[in-house]
Symmetry: C2
Subunit: 333 residues, 2 copies
Amino acid sequence: MRVIIDVMGGDRPEESVRGALRAAKEFGEVKVTAVGDKKLIERIVAEENASALGMDAVFTTEVISNDESPTMAIKQKKDSSMVRALTMLKEDADSIGMISTGSTGAVLTGATLHIGRLPGIYRPTLLTQAPAMNGQPVCIADGGANVDSRPEWLYQFAVIGSAYMKVVTGRENPSVALLSVGTEEHKGNELTRAAYALLRESNLNFVGNIEARDALSGKYDVIVCDGYDGNILIKSTEGAAKMIMSLLKGFVMESTKAKIGYLFMKKALMKLKNRMDFNNYGGAPFLGIKKCVIKAHGASKAGAVYNAVGQVLKIKQGNVIESIGRAFAGGAE
Amino acid sequence: MRVIIDVMGGDRPEESVRGALRAAKEFGEVKVTAVGDKKLIERIVAEENASALGMDAVFTTEVISNDESPTMAIKQKKDSSMVRALTMLKEDADSIGMISTGSTGAVLTGATLHIGRLPGIYRPTLLTQAPAMNGQPVCIADGGANVDSRPEWLYQFAVIGSAYMKVVTGRENPSVALLSVGTEEHKGNELTRAAYALLRESNLNFVGNIEARDALSGKYDVIVCDGYDGNILIKSTEGAAKMIMSLLKGFVMESTKAKIGYLFMKKALMKLKNRMDFNNYGGAPFLGIKKCVIKAHGASKAGAVYNAVGQVLKIKQGNVIESIGRAFAGGAE
């Protein structure tokens, strides 16, 4: 089994290479290929004194950045690390997944184009993992890949999210909640009301509507929503966390007494920061396509990239893609 | 000038009465009428030793709760504090506004039904004020009154929000941002892309798309969005704030050292809690109807209800409703 890592495109290519090296070393059952700039990869391999650690490399000359049009970039930059990594994932039967810290739009476009949807899938979905109150991961489906969703898409996001969270939580039938503006069945918009009806009739462990304030309580495994709303949920939470930490710092700086208190509380505050850090919850699997692609955070450090390799492995060992394929093999419902 | 307060329906009717008494006493230019249960109002008036303070009262026998269907409740409960307060607002030429801590759905339905939309307005909008980083209020338009909005509605929300924030901030042309999933013009869904085009052509101080993480930065006065998305933005932020404070408390309790630190930092933490408390930012004006109705938080204390009276006064003195009326008098565009 092989996992391919597009080490360019993110904010810290060096860290991606380090994560790839660590994964090659520590995951005995997986071979790792880093795809990216020759000089960069060779420099990090030398720095880490890791030449014999069994990581393969494919050297590329182009990088897809966050600023360019995803569709144009994927079509034109044939020698970009992202396109080469995706092509390799498609063509190599032994390769089970690809990880990229690059432009979300380009990863999703490229993955859909090069790897292709599973039969019966309307739209692949990005499963963003968010930090819950209790430290458990919550999965937002869709985390931002699809806007203007239709009710049947939301139903598929729920099935895909549930299949994934089964391997993450170990629970046979993870709980699925529908993001809405109130808990009653009739609350919501046209989309959520129609999706509610589909989910209610499904075999999923559907618990009904929830409000955004409860999405990260840890009581639910999968939060189903349109990608526009998933994006707002995730970004508001991130924004609030950042704002609160920064405000607290400001208020602390106003008094010597508070500064002393801050020193005493530092460990608790670091724990809090860690708990709220989306980066610690792994990359976002993009599922509903024929192989596993993981979009890791642009600022991912080596540990996050290493963890993403573990995610690919878990998805493989849990037969997540096979079970999604089976769910819709009879054609999209 | 008179302001009418529906003192029932919220979680703390006593506090609404106290707020009404305080407003009657302190706002010399405004008369205040409390509408609600006779026993309750008389008890609080006696407790506050306030019989001569010039607050009027209208006694009612019914209360609209959060659990009932807004439309049914408004139609059937003729002697509810909410319906009586709205009827009085409509019929009394001297009354400039009504405040309720009751069911949001019922307030909005009742206000639209009894007070009526201004000519040319598609949908009145709920302007939820949220806490920004810098302590300035930000106004979310729409804060949850309208789902499945059309682009023209969003344009009107922007005009209404801008007219209101003009009196709140004192700025001639408050900045208006469109909530989206990216800052580029093409980012968003069908609704936001169409609304973008309308806003770009307007006379508003339109600054373009913003992401949810920047909505409460304090850089923007009005955040325009569909009410479903406004609800998610507000509730995720509230939820994140609650989660963070509660997590911090838990981590602090794990160590004696941190507990000591907590004591030293208590003042800074209280400041933070206050800054993040939506309750401190006033009620949410429901504008686009012929008079001013303010939905105050269900848990409002006396101070919040008192502040809401100040808001009604500000809206009156700033001619907000007149200027909204003028903007669309030629018919909805």
